[in-house]
C-alpha cells in the first residue's frame, strides 16, 4: 500500500518546482499534502493517516484489535 520515493531535488527541477520545493527535506504525500523538514515517525504517520482519512487507526492504539496479532517485523520492501 505504501510506495516511497527519494528524489534528488536538483536533478529533477521540474518535479521540484511542481511541488514548490524550496527547502529540503520536503515530503509530499499522495501528491497533495506536504511535510516540511525531518519529522519523527509518529508525526509522519499521523499526516499519512489524515491524508487517507484513517486517523482512527492511531486512536485505536491499546484497544483489542480482534485477531490482528502482530507477527513480527514486516518487510518494507516489495508489495
Amino acid at each position: 500500500m505504501v510506495q516511497a520515493e527519494v528524489v534528488e531535488a536538483q536533478e529533477f527541477p521540474h518535479l521540484s518546482q511542481a511541488h514548490q520545493v524550496r527547502a529540503v527535506p520536503k515530503t509530499i504525500i499522495n501528491g497533495v499534502s506536504e511535510v516540511l523538514g525531518a519529522v519523527n515517525e509518529r508525526a509522519l504517520l499521523q499526516k499519512v493517516l489524515s491524508v487517507v482519512g484513517q486517523e482512527d487507526l492511531l486512536e485505536e492504539k491499546g484497544k483489542p484489535s480482534g485477531g490482528d496479532a502482530d507477527s513480527g517485523p514486516t518487510s518494507i520492501f516489495g508489495r
Partner: protein, 153 residues
C-alpha cells in the same frame, strides 16, 4: 578511476560482511548511449556515474546483485515498476519480487548512507519502524505515495 576511495570501500565491505547475509537485488534504470549517440530529450548526465557507483557498491558483497535496465529499451518493465524518470534505483530482498522503494537521481553525500542502510534493511527483510506504526500501515485502505525531496549535502 573508482568513485569510492579505498577507505570507503573497505568500510563498506566490512559493514556488508557484518549486516548483509542474504541476497539483495538492486535494479538501476538508466539510459545507455548507443555508439556515443545521445538523443535529444533523453539526456541523463548522472546515469553513467550512478551505474559506476552501484557497480562498486555491489562489488563490496557477494550478496548484493546489480541489474541494469535501459529506461527506453525496457520501457514496459520500467512502467510496471512505477519508474518514471532516470536514473532510478530500486531494491528488494530475496523474499520479495519487486520493490516499493525508488531512488531518483545519483546518490551523493548523505544519500549514500540512506541507500546503504536500505540495502541492509532489504537484506534483513525487516522494517525498522515501530510496532504501532507497522500495525497502522498494515490496515491502510488506500495507496500512499511518499515523495521525499532531498539534496546531496
Amino acid at each position: 578511476m573508482p568513485l569510492l576511495s579505498d577507505q570507503d570501500r573497505k568500510a563498506l565491505e566490512a559493514r556488508f560482511k557484518k549486516d548483509v547475509k542474504r541476497d539483495v537485488s538492486i535494479t538501476l534504470y538508466t539510459v545507455r548511449n548507443v555508439g556515443g549517440l545521445i538523443l535529444p530529450g533523453r539526456e541523463c548526465p548522472t546515469c553513467p556515474q550512478t551505474e559506476q557507483f552501484l557497480t562498486e557498491v555491489a562489488a563490496a558483497s557477494k550478496h548484493v546483485h546489480l541489474t541494469v535496465k535501459d529506461f527506453y529499451a525496457d520501457a514496459d518493465d520500467a512502467r510496471e515498476h512505477g519508474v518514471e524518470r532516470v536514473p532510478c534505483i530500486t531494491l528488494h530482498g530475496e523474499d520479495k519480487e519487486s520493490s516499493n522503494l525508488r531512488f531518483y537521481g545519483i546518490p551523493a553525500g548523505y544519500e549514500v548512507m540512506t541507500l546503504i542502510e536500505d540495502i541492509i534493511a532489504a537484506a534483513k527483510g525487516t522494517s525498522p519502524l515501530q510496532l504501532t506504526t507497522r500495525k497502522a500501515l498494515r490496515r491502510l485502505e488506500k495507496p500512499v505515495q511518499l515523495q521525499v525531496f532531498v539534496t546531496p549535502t
